[in-house]
């Protein structure tokens, strides 16, 4: 059975400020969706809300995976159900080796009922798997012994996110500007890596401003977010149009959302 991630009329606030104002989105396993929109339109908020960040409170609507309501679930429970967020700003965890971190993560995701203190997956097989994934992503095996994201360059951090994606093999992956801040070589590596990983088993939501990531990972669906709502959905051609022409036309087509966007910006200023 093919899985579905379904977002219905999702309202999310940060503190007292409403950011998402009724987002509807349905992603099937094996599909690639692009999410575009100007800065501040709510793309990252949607990503964090899907991952279960406690600072992003859902004030209305639901998030479901195969009909199971995960709106109230903690982030770790969601991960064990197959959700994955590649962070725009990956977090440094000093003193924790990449290999140790991933061994815990992989064990929990593959054995969702595991309790803390129970055995981890075998070191030998884990190491073998980790090394082969690193080779595929063109990463030095030495990274396994480094502390997670500690002293990593921007490109190394993003590649580490893709490595985690490769190891955890989620059903639904959300990539929040995984291509931002990277030079074109690094974007290519990440794009190719993602293209290799995504397949019939993975639904992907790519949040991006760049063409490159979408060149290697052609979206079947392109969504445009404005003022906290998805205002348009099209195919890959829509992504191309936005790359070429920006959001002026979109704002014209959706004056109410554009007005709300402007009001929100004013409130922030």
């Amino acid at each position: 059975m093919s899985s579905v991630l379904k977002v219905s009329d999702l309202h999310v606030s940060v503190g007292e400020t409403p950011i998402l104002k009724g987002v509807n989105l349905e992603i099937g396993q094996g599909e690639i969706h692009a999410l575009m929109g100007p800065n501040g339109s709510g793309k990252s908020t949607l990503a964090y809300a899907l991952a279960g960040h406690p600072n992003y409170s859902v004030t209305g609507g639901t998030i479901e995976v195969d009909g199971v309501n995960i709106t109230e679930m903690e982030a770790d429970e969601r991960a064990r159900l197959g959700m994955f967020l590649a962070f725009q700003y990956p977090v440094v965890i000093p003193g924790v080796k990449v290999a140790d971190f991933l061994r815990h993560a992989v064990t929990n995701v593959r054995n969702p009922d595991r309790k803390e203190g129970e055995g981890l997956i075998g070191m030998r097989e884990f190491r073998k798997e980790l090394r082969s994934r690193m080779t595929e992503l063109g990463m030095d095996h030495e990274f396994a012994r480094r502390y997670l994201n500690d002293g990593f360059s921007g490109g190394e951090k993003k590649r580490m996110e893709i490595l985690q994606l490769a190891m955890l093999q989620p059903r639904f992956a959300i990539l929040d500007e995984t291509d931002s801040g990277l030079d074109s070589d690094a974007v290519r590596v990440v794009s190719e890596g993602l293209a290799r990983l995504s397949g019939p088993q993975m639904g992907v939501l790519i949040i991006t401003h760049h063409e490159r990531l979408l060149e290697f990972n052609t979206p079947q669906f392109t969504h445009v977010m404005l003022g906290g709502r998805i205002v348009e959905t099209g195919d890959a051609a829509l992504a191309n149009e936005l790359h070429s022409n920006g959001y002026a036309e979109v704002r014209k087509r959706h004056p109410q959302a554009a007005a709300e966007e402007a009001a929100a910006e004013e409130a922030l200023a």
Binding site: E74, F84, I93, V96, H104, A105, E118, R124, R127, L168
Partner: protein, 453 residues
């Protein structure tokens, strides 16, 4: 006992107690004479305020010394489990029980290489000419403060390790200091002398036989590292949470010598350690590592001094503290650079990680510099577990608790990385996990290193 003890009787160690203690001793006259001088010093120092800089943050009012007494004779031998004791091969072992040496092994084999290892009092008596110039003369003076004098008057038992010129001890030495009797006052002394070009490692730990009994340790550690010598010394304080721990500790490093000193504070109700690092010879170096993990209502206090006395000396101190519950840690650090100590490189840093709202940590670094061509750096941070780190771990399927534990271990890992003794790293990792409440978690450190081969 407040900063000024107006009633010396309240300390409970009156002249009657001292005379009674002496009456039970069988020892050389010169040792007894030194005790009498120290006791007079102790009584004098009781009426003098403790250094406010060192003690003002530590409330000693609940301390009632009269509750504790030295044992008049050795208690029946009981085995107390050691954290590091069974996990590696040692070149020699000594166990102190309630102030008496209760077990000793390896000293015969070591003596074939000219190494002296064993009961301090016996060694002082049999090798007076060699050892008298060191004992409470080179590193810790009996009149250094009230606690040093108290120790100098009442010390019993103790470890002596003397490594002669050019001898390298490949295997570490293990020393275990235990309390088995409720109300015991124990004054063990550690004297290590590493002669020119020699090398040694001594791992020392303290333990209480029972969780419920209360003990008092008034200790002294003297580490003498001669020219070109190298010493690694670890003291892991793991008393039960009813015990009191006071210690005056000092290391002296001569020309080109190096000292690596690790202090670990896990146990005790209240502890105060005065730690001096005296870089007395040119190009002497010292690396100091501190690891503390407090819980409940524990209070651990450290006063550290890195004294740069000669040219080209190098010191590097890193303390890492994790605090739970209502516990408290005080670290007051000082780098002192004397006028002749040009081209000195001094570093000190203390980082605390708070796991509760009610824990408290005071970290106060300081510098006193008389030379003008030096590089001295210091810093102190206090923080809570970062919620973004927790969320990041959780978004990978790791539970909130597990994430917390990982982050704490990672925090300590950066000190473990400086300790090149596997048994110490492994012990610390295991002990920290236990204190975090993860009894059965497999040790990632150990499995990782093993598998790498």
């Amino acid at each position: 006992m407040s900063l000024v003890t107006r009633d010396p009787g309240r300390t409970g160690f009156s002249v009657e107690v001292f005379e009674q203690f002496l009456a039970g001793r069988q020892e050389a006259d010169w040792i007894t004479e030194a005790r009498r001088l120290a006791f007079a010093e102790y009584e004098r120092l009781l009426s003098i305020e403790l250094s406010p800089e060192e003690f003002k943050r530590l409330d000693l009012r609940p301390f009632n010394a009269s509750r504790f007494r030295p044992l008049p004779e050795q208690s029946q031998q009981s085995s107390v489990s050691a954290l590091m004791g069974d996990h590696t091969e040692y070149g020699g072992r000594i166990v102190h029980q309630d102030g008496y040496v209760s077990q000793l092994s390896g000293s015969d084999t070591l003596s074939e290489r000219g190494v002296l290892f064993g009961d301090l009092q016996q060694m002082l008596e049999s090798h007076r000419d060699l050892l008298e110039p060191f004992f409470m003369r080179r590193a810790v003076a009996p009149d250094a403060d009230r606690f040093a004098a108290w120790h100098a008057a009442f010390w019993t038992g103790g470890t002596l390790l003397y490594v002669p010129r050019g001898v390298e001890l490949e295997l570490p030495i293990h020393s275990l200091i235990t309390h088995t009797q409720d109300g015991v006052a124990e004054f063990s002394h550690t004297l290590i002398i590493v002669d020119e070009g020699a090398r040694a490692t001594l791992l020392e730990e303290t333990a209480s036989a029972e969780a419920g009994s209360a003990g008092l340790h008034v200790g002294c550690v003297e580490l003498i590292v001669e020219r070109d010598a190298h010493l690694r010394y670890v003291q892991l304080q793991n008393w039960n949470q009813n015990s009191w721990h006071f210690a005056h500790q000092a290391g002296v490093v001569e020309n080109n010598g190096s000292l690596q000193w690790t202090v670990v504070g896990l146990g005790s109700k209240v502890s105060h350690i005065h730690q001096d690092i005296n870089l007395a010879g040119r190009a002497a170096t010292a690396e100091v590592n501190g690891v503390t993990f407090t819980s409940g209502r524990q209070k651990l206090s450290y006063y550290t001094q890195q004294n740069h006395q000669q040219q080209g000396t190098h010191s590097d101190l890193l303390y890492r503290e994790v605090l739970r519950d209502d516990s408290r840690v005080i670290w007051r650090g000082m780098i002192k650079v004397d006028l002749p100590a040009q081209q000195t490189d001094g570093y000190q840093r203390s980082d605390a990680l708070m796991l509760s709202e009610t824990a408290r940590c005071d970290s106060i670094p300081g510098l006193e510099i008389e030379a003008d061509d030096v590089r001295c750096t210091h810093g102190a941070t206090t923080g809570r577990v970062d919620q973004d780190q927790i969320l990041y771990c959780m978004s990978r399927g790791i539970t909130r608790n597990e994430a917390m534990h990982m982050i704490v271990e990672g925090f300590f890992q950066q000190v473990y990385d400086r300790i090149p003794i596997p048994v110490v790293r492994e012990t610390l990792s295991r002990t920290v996990q236990k204190k975090l409440g993860i009894e059965t978690m497999e040790s990632r450190l150990i499995s990782d290193d093993e598998d790498e081969n």
